[in-house]
Amino acid sequence: MSKVIQHGVRSTEPMLLVVQVGNAARSAFGNYSHSRRCDVSGRRFFSVTCALFGRGPPSRIEKKTVDIPGLERVTYADRMHYVPGLAKPVFPDWRRDWHDPHHYRGPKNEEMKLHKANPCYVFNQRTKILEGVRQALWLTKSKLIQGLPEHILSLAEDPANQIEDQGKRVQQAIRHSCFWDTTAIRPKRDRFCPVLLRDLLHLCGTLQLKHTSLSKSILAENYRVAALWNQESDVFQVRGLIGMLLNIMTPLPEVIQSGEVLATENHTLETFCPISPTIDLQSTYVYDQKNDTGFRDGYPYPHAHTLFFIETEDSAAKFKPEQLRAKMIMFAFGNALARAKSLYGEHPQVLEQPVVVQSIATDGRLFQFIVLQLNTTDLGPDTGVKNLIWMDQDQLLYDYAKCRPLIKKKAVTMAKH
């Protein structure tokens, strides 16, 4: 038995007794002696070289300062150094008297000017909603139709509308983006995807010689859209910085006439119990209620024609095709709703002249196409006229585009296959 000399021990506390275990056990357990457990925090052991006790980090029990009114606490503030026995002084909160942007604490949510009592569920450009297209259909009160509308397909099939040497020129566009843009063997997605999209858009632009109405369009990048609506007593918003938008002077013609639009009243929206439709949406109490197409009044190209989305992430943050389609639907809807509210007012109503917006999304290889027709801005109740969405999903532009240099007889050849 050996006694450990302790410092700072008060007389009322028990002394610790150390039981020496045999050498074999000591080597097995690494100098760990068994002892009766007592509270050993805050003790220092000078007589041994290693810490035999103290099972955990010393617990910091902060003594509560009791404020007795009338009794002044004697602190060591005047002495300017720690004095054992005197109380710890409490200094007033210090605030910097100049604005330092690196150390700025913003106001709390409740103190912000735009704070509201009810939360708003925001869909932004990074939102990946759990149920994908089903949830987007509920949020936009839409009915889904697989396949693009017939008149668009007939336009594409018509040889008069096709570019000369279309197949060859599209293949050249693919080769440009994948092989010729860099000297790297396999360019990254954020390199070849925008190049491919711009080449294809350029090819479509060459049709302006035949159809002059196509020239009345403009491509806008990095604009912010904002759309707000109430649905089933919740407030929803679509906000975000979108990739590319093709704007035109005259609005797109409606796909389906009003007679068939009224027939959509019979369609019931698909719910996905037990999951709520607000899942994965950003919930915020500080929001601005505004509807904004992203362009000011008097802009010569006010109507949105097609939205282009490029998916360039390669990691886990990548949008899967299902999430990408949901994002397309939501932003096309946001643009259409903002346009409709600016044309026909904020009051929820069934639109006489539906607003049509198209959208294309790609990750470099897979293409998704959507045509959205906004028939109504009355999204509050579950019943009534629904909006329509035509979707063409997961279309491969090419099977693969690989290029690997082959070295044969000390000559490098690019084997494209």
Binding site: A24, S27, A28, G30, Y32, C50, A51, G54, G56, P57, P58, A77, M80, H81, Y82, P89, F91, P92, W94, R96, D97, L130, C273, P274, I275, S276, T278, I279, L281, S283
Partner: protein, 331 residues
């Protein structure tokens, strides 16, 4: 870091003495700013830092302005290698969190538990063991959730399932036959009749039929599951006696808990976990298990298989002594 803290503190001192009284020099505010920064640095560490209390009086106006309060400054920084900040997150998230390995070392830096070290990097997924966790403001008698995916968890032997219900998602311990797309129910009512429970559902013990296999057992109501969480394990509900329930744990020990404690029905997932063969020493090293000491030691009375009777039933219920005795005598 300590040197920079000290340099910053000393550099912000204004050297103007009382000779500058005529100009009316402002006291050095920057000193207190750096002091606050360094105190905040030290607040994040668990070890105490050396505290140097600077006895510098701030310069004052000659017109008799009051002295600014002084504050201590810190001249050393605490070690950040063994900080446990990664596990002090309070807000729940389904995102995996980077985990720091300790190697069996404690806060002093010495090995406290041998045989731990190395192994594949792991990310910790915050598992919600409190099955009866209502969403904020949506309390009800029962709620349902849908299983989105069942996946491997590197931090435990069982698999975990991502379930979504209402507007939130959380990780829970998966049961044996749980698959993506299943709908599981969590209820807190205890009816007169026992519920015919499906696997994966969670009920209070008082609502379950006797003889049902349970896992993720709470021993104090509302505290969260602490027992029967390992792969392939299950407890058995033996008896229900006036407000308490007696459960047999996988070690054959019996415990008595309140009947309002929640438990999930079924066996824990990854049932064949104990049948796996490690195969080689390297696989153990991948799991973070270091080899034991090679020194031959004469084994004493502590070694060898022991066949002992099962310890008596443990009661986690504070009942008046008569009722407790009535519950335990018949075990």
């Amino acid at each position: 870091m300590a040197l920079s803290a000290l340099a910053r503190a000393l550099g912000s001192l204004s050297l103007s003495a009382s000779s500058n009284m005529a100009q009316g020099v402002r006291p050095a505010h920057l000193l207190s700013q750096t002091v606050k920064q360094s105190t905040e640095l030290c607040r994040y560490s668990s070890l105490p830092c050396s505290r140097l209390l600077l006895t510098v009086r701030k310069t004052s106006f000659c017109f008799g302005a009051q002295q600014q309060p002084w504050r201590g400054i810190l001249t050393s920084a605490a070690l950040c290698q063994n900080s446990t900040r990664w596990k002090q997150r309070t807000k729940y998230t389904i995102r995996p969190i980077g985990k720091k390995k300790t190697g069996g070392r404690d806060h002093t830096g010495k090995i406290r538990t041998h045989g731990i070290g190395g192994g594949h990097k792991q990310r910790y997924r915050m598992v919600d063991f409190q099955r009866l966790n209502f969403e904020a403001g949506k309390e009800s008698e029962f709620f349902e959730e849908k299983v989105m995916e069942v996946r491997y968890d590197p931090c435990r032997s069982a698999d975990i399932a991502l379930v979504a219900g209402g507007s939130r998602k959380r990780w829970i311990i998966a049961t044996e036959n749980m698959q993506a797309g299943d709908v599981i129910k969590t209820s807190r009512t205890i009816g007169r009749m026992a519920v015919s429970a499906n696997e994966g559902d969670s009920y209070p013990l008082g609502a379950l039929p006797i003889g049902s296999l349970i896992n993720n057992l709470e021993i104090y109501p509302g505290k969260g599951a602490q027992y029967v969480r390992a792969a392939g394990t299950c407890g058995v509900l033996l008896r229900k006696v006036n407000g308490t329930a007696i459960v047999q744990l996988p070690s054959k020990r019996q415990i008595q808990v309140l009947e309002t404690c929640m438990a999930t029905v079924g066996r824990v997932s990854n049932v064949d976990h104990n049948k796996r063969i490690i195969g080689k020493a390297g696989r153990n090293r991948w799991l973070g298990i270091r080899p034991s000491s090679g020194l031959w030691q004469r084994k004493g009375g502590w070694a060898g298989r022991k066949i002992k009777p099962i310890p008596p039933m443990k009661s986690y219920v504070n009942l008046p002594s008569a009722a407790a005795a009535a519950g335990t005598t018949t075990s």
